[in-house]
Symmetry: C2
Amino acid sequence: MSTHSTKTMTESRQRLQDLRSELDRQHLDGFLVPRSDEHNGEYIAPYAERLHWLTSFDGSAGTAIVLPGRAAVFVDGRYTLQAADQVDTSLFEIRHITDEPPSEWLREHLLDGMRLGFDPKLHTERSLERVREICRNKGATLKAAETNAIDQVWLNQPPVPFAPLEVHGLDFAGETSLDKRVRLASQLTKKGVAGAVLTAPDSIAWLLNVRGQDVPNTPISLSYAILKDSSDLDLFINPQKIGDEVRAHLGNGVTVRSESELPAALTEYAKKKVLADPDSASVWIFELLSRNKTEIARQTDPCQLPKACKNDVELDGTRAAHRRDGASLTEFLCWFAQNATDGNLDELTAASKLRSFRDNNENFRGLSFDTISGCGPNGAVVHYRVNEKTNRVIDFGSLYLVDSGAQYLDGTTDVTRTIAVGTPTAEMRDRFTRVLKGHIAVAMLRFPEGTTGSQLDILARLPLWQVGLDYDHGTGHGVGSYLGVHEGPQRISKIGNTVALMPGMIVSNEPGYYKSGEFGIRIENLVTVMPTELPDGGEKPLLKFETLTRAPIDRKLIDTSMMNRDELKWLNSYHQTVQDDLIDIVDPQTANWLKDVTSPLTN
Amino acid sequence: MSTHSTKTMTESRQRLQDLRSELDRQHLDGFLVPRSDEHNGEYIAPYAERLHWLTSFDGSAGTAIVLPGRAAVFVDGRYTLQAADQVDTSLFEIRHITDEPPSEWLREHLLDGMRLGFDPKLHTERSLERVREICRNKGATLKAAETNAIDQVWLNQPPVPFAPLEVHGLDFAGETSLDKRVRLASQLTKKGVAGAVLTAPDSIAWLLNVRGQDVPNTPISLSYAILKDSSDLDLFINPQKIGDEVRAHLGNGVTVRSESELPAALTEYAKKKVLADPDSASVWIFELLSRNKTEIARQTDPCQLPKACKNDVELDGTRAAHRRDGASLTEFLCWFAQNATDGNLDELTAASKLRSFRDNNENFRGLSFDTISGCGPNGAVVHYRVNEKTNRVIDFGSLYLVDSGAQYLDGTTDVTRTIAVGTPTAEMRDRFTRVLKGHIAVAMLRFPEGTTGSQLDILARLPLWQVGLDYDHGTGHGVGSYLGVHEGPQRISKIGNTVALMPGMIVSNEPGYYKSGEFGIRIENLVTVMPTELPDGGEKPLLKFETLTRAPIDRKLIDTSMMNRDELKWLNSYHQTVQDDLIDIVDPQTANWLKDVTSPLTN
């Protein structure tokens, strides 16, 4: 509590009071305040930071519930300390979202007859399931609010963004929007689906070959669309966002309509079959469809899989982007090697220096996420974001972990390197080498068509398991093509996933190890799935990974005596490729350094 | 069609006609006929073979749907040929259950206003989900029938079995029924659950320390139970099954009631919270609960996990059972080595000889499943069951696959060995050695607590993947303690599973390879999960597998040049254990042979 200024505390109390008054006006007793926007996005615009406005908690995930006389904020393990620090705990209890979930809290505090409100645009059916059940059991009513109560009382709420759309040219997209729409429309026709409601802005961006600037880090534009079985499309968007070039690019098949027309447009599908994705579309969409007596096909967003499987133009683009991005990162790593041991460098300066190397790259459009620049114990915080308060000087003898990425018109990057500052301990080298062995096991793997990322996940962990260690995050996430740095449907994770890895999918390969309070290690490259030749007698078509990322892996941290011949061969071959691809595009000083740090290792 | 006798065809036609007349009487237009009983069991009693009675199809899985003027049988890939052979296709279409599912067939043929009947005791909510949706979309009604229409027209339907219960003594069970009930009741109390409806007979058998004889292969007794939060239990069972000894064993806490009293008993829980498992309990149970305005907790059967985690007495029992069972199998393998190359031995004779070795074992109570005894191409049929028609002479130069197991009072066994008859080809040795390497990778693994079987599955497949091969079944299933040879909740499978492997769980380790039309290979041992020591610096408690099965692995099929040092070490150590444990309990001739076939290998 000591860290709250009196001003913030008074402000929080006032906001909560204003919200409760508004709930009274709406005849509601309580309200759900998730951290999400109308499009279920990872990055949200300032106007949608309702949880932050109400509670002062600014983490990337969480939810609040307000009831008469009490309220709570629910966050995951990453954020319990941060929430305790930011939130006025005289107003909100802080609860661990999985250990003490909202449903349990509601079970304790909901009373018979209460009316609990929610904004139907901010929840999926699944996210409400448990709450709905509790309300039923407690005799309470879960009520979709006509207007979000916070929007009614939030003075100076930022406007919904209306940045202009941009055309994503065919030389980057590789397939015209019309071809994509015809391809998907024929699938809709086969299923007897008259229209597919698209609510995910990255799906719409991919399908129309456009990009936007509405949220940080991901070039999307907040909008809805209905793809028809004719291949025509209705785009529901603020018309201010559409300039002449975009209008011409969209062509005759695309009708631009205002967002407020979506409910009316859906009534055109009464008694027809309409697809909507229950994992991303909000309760609001499903309520509109039900109201119209539409036959609802609850199926995966039809753009998701084709968007994930990059075409050859996109793959060539991402390879080029990774070379430029790798050159910048390598220049930074060379600079870091020369400057980090002084004892003057700190995490913020390093992150800012890294950005400066990327800034002038061809096709550079910004970072794909906030850089993780963590030294020593900060490197062990998996979702660390450096700020003035946590900023550490980079100590001699520590490990420095830098996880960063950028958006280029031709591809999205995401790479992590861990660097020894000075001489690493034997423990650091042992742990790093185990992480590297896991990384290589995934990178070298050949696997039959139909294999999911869940099946592979263990390979990245086995060398750590041998000594009773592990890491508490997934091994890989999907990555877009000048789109989300996190995208589905594929992933490499111990959490079950039924989506097979398919050619053209891009996924990260990022095992790690984190010794709490001491150091963090992660080695992350992006890879793409490729077909590979089948040995004689083979029966199942085989796939492999092609590593896209280009940057040296710190040899000071590798204990080659722990590596087998195949692993060393992979490492040397990878380093040779890094050298070949970057040597002519990095500055001369870096070129010299690069030759040295990528020369072959033996054991 | 040529294989049907005129008698059978006439009979099938008559039965279908009788069923349709009965449906008319019940004002139904159609009926669902799954192959299942009221307890969702793998093995069902003859009275429940309704699908077989109606269609002549006798596979272990399938379903039929009868509509006016048309009907279909749905089977999986294992059974499409067999169904075409057994079913009168002028009466029933044969459809592949996943490629052409019942829902699609109904979508084509259901008409507006039709009434489709089903027996609510034979379906889970999930198994009806798709059908329910189709009915809604087509304007048809899905109607729970008061009585199963087939039971009304099946002349000479066998009676529901009423074999006597037997006490499963504490020296086998290791924990009294009262202790188990008190343990589970305290969990129910914590969850505010007043009673748990148990519908799985193996759960009831485990909880009450009783066994039955109602179905083949699994020592269960068909019954229902309600475990109360007081630890008392109501057992709904044919009272004829309860003799004096069992009555005394059950004690005062258990009330024996007739099965017909279950609906009335559930009304005692109106407005209370009752647990029922949606994966095993039928729609009938949930409808009874809903009718009473009971608060339903849809949760996993509370017996499932504690039943899976065997206690020390059960583990010692299973180890002893595996020694006896291994001795019998080894005697068979020795006999087979001496007799198989004559060209006179066939699959049926071999299976029957194997059974004769087990028959007189201490505590032997029968086979745990029908023996798979397959030679050459028959070995490549994963779910092969030998019969007079398919029976093959065991050829010189072929592979013989034998998958068998037994029920002992102290444990359930399941083991597969693949034997070269004469000299195997280089391809057979290569494939066998890859399967063995996969088997050993699982057997040797150490893994942190919390790991699921889904995570491990790939390890058994990797050596095959290298050359573009795989096998189309799971790697391991749970096994009971003188109970089901297939039990949950754990398994080793690429299909996602969220249940962690826990100490005392028994699971099979059975990778294979099947070359269609030529040969089949499988190496199956049962293993149990055990804690193991944590290396210095380790953070996550580690588990390992202890192999339970005792029988030599055919060295003629092992190419030691493909194995690394750790793999050979495991194999030699395993063979030494097999020799040590069996040498004194097999016949002298087998003892000599065993010494030879378990001596150390080198490469």
